[in-house]
Structure formats: C-alpha cells, structure tokens
C-alpha cells in the first residue's frame, strides 16, 4: 500500500463521514459501525467505532484509500495511524451540534501536524436543518480557531454538503485536489 494515496475524512459523530465515503468508494465500504453507546447514543443509533475504509481504483492498479475516523473523541489515538502521509483531510462538521466552532477547533488541532503538510477541506452538513452558522461564519471561526495552526492552505474550501449526495462529495474531493495543484488536468 502506498501510504501517500490516502484521503482522511474526519469530524464529529453524525457529520456524514461514512455516507461520504460510501458515496464515492468503488467498493462497499468496510465499516466498523456498531450500536452506539454512552456519549453518542443521543445523536445516532449506529456509529463508527474504529474506522471506515473505502477505495477508489484508478484503473492502472493504483488506488486511493479513503479512511473515515471514528467521530468519538476517545478514539483519537487511532488518528495518527490514519494520517501517516496522505493527500489531504476532509473535515465534516455537523451544523446541528451545539458548538460547531468547538468541533472545528478540536479536529483541526487534533490533525494540526497533518494539515501542515496537506490541504484541508471543510464540509458543513445538515444546513437544511440548521442554516446558521453559514459558510461565511465558518470562515470567520477559522480565522480565530486557526491562529496557532500552520495550515498548508490557510484559506480552505468551506462547502455546504450532504454526505449522501455524490455530487457534493465529489466537489469536496475535487476542491481538495485543486488545493494541492490548481493546474491539474492542464497540458504540461
């Protein structure tokens, strides 16, 4: 496995990471969903207790691994395993949670070493249920939250998304790729 061919999806419980990976994976995702307990029981009947794994085949034996982190904070020891190398981080935030800014702060700092080397893209889910904060508000939050971060892309894409919507997830990933190199697809 080439470790740099990896995209990591992270975010709190119920933000849509598993759905997003399912939307674009070429294979049924290997998911370690289980009945939620303790801290997550009120938000979701099932949740990812270890990780999700999907694959994008590129047709020439190369592939991209899609990893979803567990949303529960107590599993953060696993994240280092996931973030060794990689193409980028997709942070999905649930707009119905009580304090999205706190979530943003937590996950960006949890991955602070990773996002110093690779770009991050923010996907805001459940905006149909709760329209505020909007993407402009998240950009302002990021200015505060990210003051002590050294992000590779300090002006990241921030999109409203529905993890079940393939077009939304495609846009997240394409924005990530163009953040690595806006010239992709051009003639040399």
């Amino acid at each position: 496995m080439r470790e740099d061919n990896k995209i990591v999806f992270t975010g709190p419980v119920g933000a849509g990471k598993t759905s997003a990976i399912s939307a674009i994976s070429d294979v049924p995702i290997i998911s370690t969903d289980a009945r939620a307990s303790d801290m997550t029981i009120n938000r979701k009947g099932h949740t990812t207790v270890a990780m999700d794994y999907g694959i994008l085949h590129l047709g020439d034996k190369s592939k991209v691994h899609l990893y979803g982190t567990p949303g529960q904070e107590r599993f953060d020891f696993m994240w280092d395993i996931l973030t060794t190398g990689g193409l980028g981080l997709i942070l999905m935030l649930d707009n119905t949670r009580p304090n999205p800014q706190k979530d943003m702060h937590f996950f960006l700092h949890a991955f602070k070493d990773y996002i110093a080397d690779v770009p991050v893209v923010l996907g805001i889910s459940k905006t149909d249920l709760n329209s505020r904060p909007d993407t402009a508000d998240y950009a302002k939050m990021l200015a505060e939250v990210g003051q002590d971060l050294h992000m590779l892309n300090p002006v990241p894409p921030i999109f409203e998304v529905d993890g079940r919507n393939k077009e939304d997830v495609k846009n997240l990933v394409m924005a990530l790729l163009f953040s690595i190199d806006p010239g992709l697809g051009m003639l040399p």
């Binding site: 590129l58 892309n153 002006v155 921030i158 409203e160 394409m174 806006p182 992709l184 051009m186 003639l187």
Partner: protein
C-alpha cells in the same frame, strides 16, 4: 447547422443531452453560452426539435443504453460520448472526462464537419483517449478516440487565446446591477420586470433574504443579451406571491446575476494586471456551477494573481475567469486594488511561489488520474 433556432440572427447548432443529469446539463449550457462564436444551444428535454449533434454521458446509469438507442434511431446525427473510460466504448466517438471547454468545442466542431465515410467505418482499434493524453506529462497532441478505421483525426488542443487588447468590459456599478445592489443594501423589496411584456422576472425580498425567480439561468442570459435596457425595477410590494417561481437566497442570486451580466466580460472594477486574491471560497456546492470555478478558486485562494497571469498560468478561457471574478466580487469575496487611481503593474512574486510548490510530475500524473476518476463518478 440548422436554421430552426436562432439567437441574435445567427443560426444555432442544436445540442441534445443524453443521459446527463441536471447539473451536467447546466454546465454544458453555461459552456455553450460562453462560447459566443460557435452559438450552440442546448435543447430542453421537452423540446422535440431534431438536434444537430448529441452529447451523451456513458457513465450515468442509463447513459449507455440511451446513447445506443439514440444512435439507432438517429444514425445521421453525430454523437459525442463522454466517459472516464473511453477504451470501454470503442464504438463511440468519445471525449474523456473531465470535460473542458478547450477540448469540448474542437471535438464538437470536428464531429459537425461532414465526413460520413469515416464515421461509418467499422471499428478497428480504439484510438488514444483524450484523458490519457491530458494526464500524461509526456504527450502533447490531443486526440479524440473514434470508431474509425483510418487514423483518428488529431485535434490540436486549443489553448485559450488571450489578447489583452481585445477584452470586453462591463460596469457592475451602473445600470440594473447597481440598482439591485442598492435595493439589497437598503432592504427594499423590488421586482425586475421585462418592460416589453410586463413579465416579472425576479422579485427581490431582502428582509427575507430571498429572491423569487420566474426565469431559469439560461432564460436570464438570453434576456440580458437582448438588452439590459429592457429590464426595469418596480416596487416589490406591487407583486403578489406566485407559485410558479423558484426561490434563491440573495447570495445565490447575486452570484448568478453577476455571472450572467458579465457574459465573458471583465468587470471595470477589477484590474487586469494587478493581483486579485480570493478572501474565502464561494460555497460552490450551493451556487450555480460556473466552468472552472473549483480550479480558479483554488488558485486565487492560494496566492494573489492578476487576471492576465491567471489566464496564462491556468490556461483557462478568459470568459470563464471573468464570469467567476464578477460573481465572486458580487459576494465580496475578492481583494484587489481598484482600477481607478492605479498606475503601473507591480511584480507578482506569489504565483511564482505557487508554481514552485507544484507536486512532482509523477505525482501530478497520479493526481490528474484521480481528478478524472472523481469527475466521472
């Protein structure tokens, strides 16, 4: 070409979409609108006119079956098939995704040239697909894979031509756009009416942060092209709610209306040769899709670059850039020194930095394949 439909007196080339979802159709429509020279027109689903050419998405659930059916029923109409896996479809003339304007239009032009002999030739072997060429660091000439016996005709890649002396400008601070901005700023409800027939096109309701639209993006584009002077503002209170409208947020509306009004022209506010920076990304998943918007946003968020430099570095069509800049500027997402009062062009070292940060050729090849894959999902 046909004379069945005309825009501004010039015969349109009618295009039928096959197996395209609404989002992809919208992107094609926008691309056709931007290419004034060719004057293509995308047929609505319920428009039964015979097309001059068809575009199919073979990767959609029913795309292949629908393309086969179309070709069987309309053997005389050329069909351009889009796919991420052109080698799987040697029976079609294919264009590899992601589709770009500079590959799409040469492909269509080539298809529309009368060459019945080659088109009816049996399949021998698939030609080199465009996508592989596009994504190969070594290859240069671009080909469309075709189902022809003779060697596939080579399409010279049309690099966007850009002449700074040929740029058209528009002024968003004059006319209808200025009035709309003022109404929104002052929280005044207004309706925009076509004075020729009294039809209400948009009802802007700032206090509810919404716009009720009675026209599609494509209709709006046509109306603007017929002359902005045909549009007048009326007091919004004189209109009643209408069920036959779709609602937009103010953000969505400003994005659309400025892209429409720009119509491939550069805003007079934005300097051609001075750095422009994107403060933050537009919420592109919820805004009307503009060609190259993801690429342009990534580039301009990464480092300031003048419009002239952006066109050269990204090889995008100036119309795509200018529409994006107009729409982004309407949402106050751009930072730049206004044209007035500026004298000379400063150095732009930041884009050189961006160039230096590019991945290695091998990694770019890999990322390009991944991009093609994602775009084609």
């Amino acid at each position: 070409m046909t004379d069945k439909a005309q825009i501004a007196g010039t015969p349109s080339t009618l295009v039928r979409g096959i197996g395209l979802d609404t989002r992809k159709e919208a992107v094609f429509r926008m691309a056709f609108r931007m290419n004034r020279k060719a004057n293509y027109r995308f047929l609505e689903a319920d428009d039964r006119q015979a097309p001059d050419v068809a575009i199919a998405d073979l990767d959609s659930p029913d795309g292949l079956a629908e393309a086969d059916k179309f070709r069987k029923e309309n053997p005389e109409i050329p069909l351009l098939a889009t796919t991420v896996v052109p080698n799987n479809f040697p029976q079609f003339v294919t264009l590899t995704k992601p589709i770009r304007m500079e590959t799409l239009f040469p492909a269509l032009e080539q298809l529309l040239q009368p060459s019945p002999t080659t088109r009816e030739s049996p399949v021998q072997q698939p030609s080199e697909p465009v996508g592989q060429v596009l994504n190969s660091a070594a290859a240069t000439p671009e080909k469309i894979s075709t189902s022809v016996q003779q060697p596939a005709p080579v399409l010279e890649r049309e690099k966007p031509s850009f002449d700074p002396n040929q740029i058209d400008y528009f002024d968003p601070e004059q006319g209808l756009l200025a009035l709309v901005q003022r109404a929104i700023r002052d929280q005044i409800s207004v309706g925009i009416v076509d004075r020729r027939n009294g039809r209400l096109l948009w009802r802007i309701i700032p206090e509810q942060e919404k716009v009720d639209a009675s026209v599609s993006m494509e209709e709006a584009q046509a109306i603007f092209r017929e002359g902005e002077e045909n549009l007048i503002l009326r007091d919004g209170a004189s209109f009643t709610d209408n069920d036959s409208v779709h609602s937009l947020t103010l953000t969505e509306y400003l994005w659309q209306i400025h892209a429409i009004a720009a119509d491939g022209r550069l805003s007079k506010k934005i300097p051609l040769n001075r750095p422009v920076k994107l403060r933050r990304w537009p919420n592109l998943t919820r805004l009307y899709p503009l060609p190259e918007a993801l690429r342009l946003a990534a580039f301009l968020a990464r480092s300031p670059a003048s419009p002239a430099l952006t066109i050269r570095m990204l090889q995008v069509h100036s119309q795509a850039l200018f529409n994006f800049l107009a729409a982004a500027d309407a949402l106050q997402l751009l930072e730049y020194s206004p044209v007035s009062g500026m004298t000379s062009e400063p150095a732009i070292p930041s884009s050189t930095l961006a160039e230096a940060q590019r991945p290695s050729p091998a990694k770019r090849g890999f990322l390009g394949r991944l991009l093609s894959k994602i775009a084609g999902l």
